[in-house]
Symmetry: C2
Subunit: 130 residues, 2 copies
């Protein structure tokens, strides 16, 4: 009975973890790779959607632990807030090796090949948790 | 028996969720508030640690769903990577209202009062998931 109960507990737990997207182990000191893109045609909604779709294909790269593709939030416009960019991606990696695997991955190279004509500027911030 | 087993299952689940920091519900379209700081004395390890400690006090603000305090990662130096900053903070909020609560929160105001002498420049990126 004890064994069965534990089994049920674990199954429920994995199920819930899966639903929440937290099935993988948490990252101790993640590497955050945050990239901002300035579109060549910022008025073109089609170009923006193409870039967003391209960025979302990167999610299949196995060393990416979490990915967020974003656009400008409507927060208060203050002097310190850069609101000049168009699309962003934030990725979490376990470490620098994981980020290197991503840089060299065929899906990333295909994304650059297919989408780099859409942007005029890219800015990257790589940080590691302390 | 059935009731007791369910109760044990749920307790284990909440316990594990708590350990992993995933006790709260997942955010549908989070607002990401990423801030980069340039220190007045970038050579001063003491100043850097003071800023890091100050940023970590912000974690107690209830509308912050996740917080990451970071420093420069040792990723490959490429033209597109900005490596000129010293300390960063990334916060996840449910929405813009949550971010506004943080901006006006006494812990945030105390942080600015106690730590703003440490930096010369701050740059903020506010994005929302798409």
């Amino acid at each position: 009975m004890m064994v069965r109960r534990r089994f049920i507990g674990s199954t429920a737990l994995l199920g819930i973890a899966g639903i929440f997207g937290f099935a993988k182990r948490p990252i101790e000191k993640p590497l955050l790779h945050h990239v901002f893109f300035w579109l060549k045609n910022p008025e073109s909604e089609a170009d923006k959607q193409k870039l967003i779709a391209g960025l979302k294909t990167l999610a299949a790269i196995p060393t990416i632990r979490h990915i967020h593709v974003g656009v400008l939030a409507s927060t208060e416009k203050r002097e310190v807030v850069d609101t000049s960019w168009d699309v962003s991606e934030l990725m979490f990696f376990d470490d620098e090796a994981g980020q290197k695997v991503y840089q060299d991955h065929p899906l990333h190279l295909a994304f650059v090949k297919n989408c780099s004509h859409l942007w005029t500027k890219v800015l990257v911030y790589d940080s590691i948790d302390v």
